[in-house]
Amino acid sequence: MAKKEVMQGNEALAESALRAGCRFFAGYPITPQTEITEYLAAKMNDMPDRAFVQGESELASINMVYGASGSGARAMTATAGQGLALMAEGMSQLADAQVPAVIVDVQRGGPGNGGTAPSQGDYNFVTKSLGHGGFHAFVFGPSTVQETADMVYEAFDIADEYRCVVMIMTDGMLGHLIESVELKPYRDLKALPPRPWTEKGNPEGRKLQICGGQPDIELEKARRIEKIYEKWERELARVEHFMTDDAEVILAAWGTVARTAKTAIRKLRAEGHKIGLIRPITIYPFPVAAFAELDEKRVRHLITMENATPAQFHLDVKAALGGKPIPLSTYHRGMGSELSVEEIEEQLRGLL
């Protein structure tokens, strides 16, 4: 078994990306993401066949990632809040050109400049469409440092397989949390899966033509990509059921809110209350079945909690419930002040 290390969420993510075979990173400093950029700046340019560039902006960074990935390399960027907004055009181009990339959003407050405190306010932006024109990224919502490291490692494979953007959505809390983590081994860069559509590994010797916007093939391509989204929704949505087997009151939450909520739920369980948690692990594709299949005879109440105002995640849960007669409510705040264990506990007690 590999050795466990104690690492900060942002650093574990950065190190795990290197191990997954990330050859190129471009990024621009922004709290609470900066440690990822700093970690990779310190390491990458000394590693053979890898490069780090501090972009002059997020606009530049995402387009550097596009160029690097489009011409053969596993590539990543990381940002937060308004930085992600600046990357929207580039992410849309990645989607259109079907160039894979891993993009990390260490969420901070918003809208506007917001604050640097943790938030889940980018939920709708990231899960519904990361830019103009309409498209999806595959979106992970980790809630521990270990999960962050594992997800980013897997993200590069998913991105290559589906030629898509894979997002890792953490937040300032998870990014700065220090936990023990077991990292996966370094991948041999030469043994990474081939990307026949990039010039380097093109077996047919055809010219690399990474473009988009050719009307005759656009609709056909859009339909093909839509089928991929349907497959993700059918087969790849992931969810954690925590103490839900006999639960009469269920809390739905993702990311760091779910993590905090587990403490409250354990406490209430110890007192004998039938309470549990549903935690979407992929937030797109959304684990619809976890809610659609709830037993309305057993579950008395479903409550969603999130660090965002107005509520966003709540709307996905509501849609997934599909009108099932289970009372649904929301408790959310965000905007620079996270939900605490105590207040989550208090809210849940009110439903018992």
Binding site: L59, S71, C211
Partner: protein, 243 residues
């Protein structure tokens, strides 16, 4: 009989969507010819912008990556860092390189990326139908107004500016006007590409180009128009050379 002029290898005679008298295609031809002469055409990657250059679709055989408007130099940075043995180029309009993408163009130059930026300066936004560009001349009409120094500023002499930076190895401006100008343009482009390939440095080359359609100048009158109006503002020449 010896054939002295024809379509170079790597181009075809497909009809393009350029307007009559447009010189964008001359730039493409020079790129293909120079890459052929350097034996680099198969080893080259061209980052294309959004702009009238798209009208060349399907007429040349070079690896291309389509970039968003203004971002070609950033895309080329990513390509170049991951493919240091390739000849990496960006092809950009004046609006693309000097307005919306000015930061990306400037920073790629200042970092000394191993690439060649090829900028088509036609003093107008061609593709969107003739709006004011960063190089529109004082007194020149555009669909967004006449350029007046007091409210829209002066045409930006970007080549002169980049010529003062430390990192670039080669910075020049040439015209795609007369056969003599075009021969000089080719000479400059060869140097730019060699500077990148042989010395691993950044090159910038600006090509002065006709846009009869949006200038409202007949193709036959473009040369005179440019000699009188464009060349005094945008002199041709080398602003920095590592050779």
């Amino acid at each position: 009989m010896e054939k002295v002029f024809g379509i170079p290898e790597g181009m075809n005679d497909k009809k393009t969507a350029f307007c009559p008298g447009c010189t964008h295609m001359t730039a493409y031809r020079l790129i293909v010819e120079c890459l052929n002469e350097l034996g680099e055409r198969d080893n080259a990657i061209l980052c294309r912008p959004i702009g009238c250059s798209l009208n060349a679709d399907g007429s040349f055989d070079i690896h291309t990556i389509q970039s968003m408007h203004g971002r070609a130099s950033a895309v080329a940075t990513g390509v170049s860092r991951m493919n240091p043995t390739k000849t990496v180029m960006s092809y950009q309009g004046d609006g693309d390189a000097i307005s919306i993408g000015v930061a990306e163009t400037l920073y790629a130059a200042n970092r000394g990326e191993k690439m060649t930026a090829i900028v088509i300066n036609n003093q107008i936004y061609g593709m969107t139908g003739g709006q004011m560009s960063p190089t529109t001349l004082i007194g020149q009409r555009s669909t967004t107004g006449v350029r007046r120094a007091d409210d829209t500023g002066y045409p930006l002499r970007f080549a002169e500016w980049l010529g003062q930076l430390e990192a670039p190895g080669y910075v020049a401006r040439a015209a795609l006007y007369t056969p003599k100008d075009i021969m000089q343009a080719k000479k400059f482009l060869l140097k730019a590409l060699r500077c990148q390939k042989e010395l691993g440095r950044y090159s910038y080359i600006e090509f002065l180009s006709f846009c009869p359609t949006n200038w409202g100048v007949q193709p036959k009158d473009c040369l005179k128009y440019c000699q009188e109006n464009v060349l005094p503002v945008f002199p041709v020449g080398e602003f920095k050379s590592c050779f």
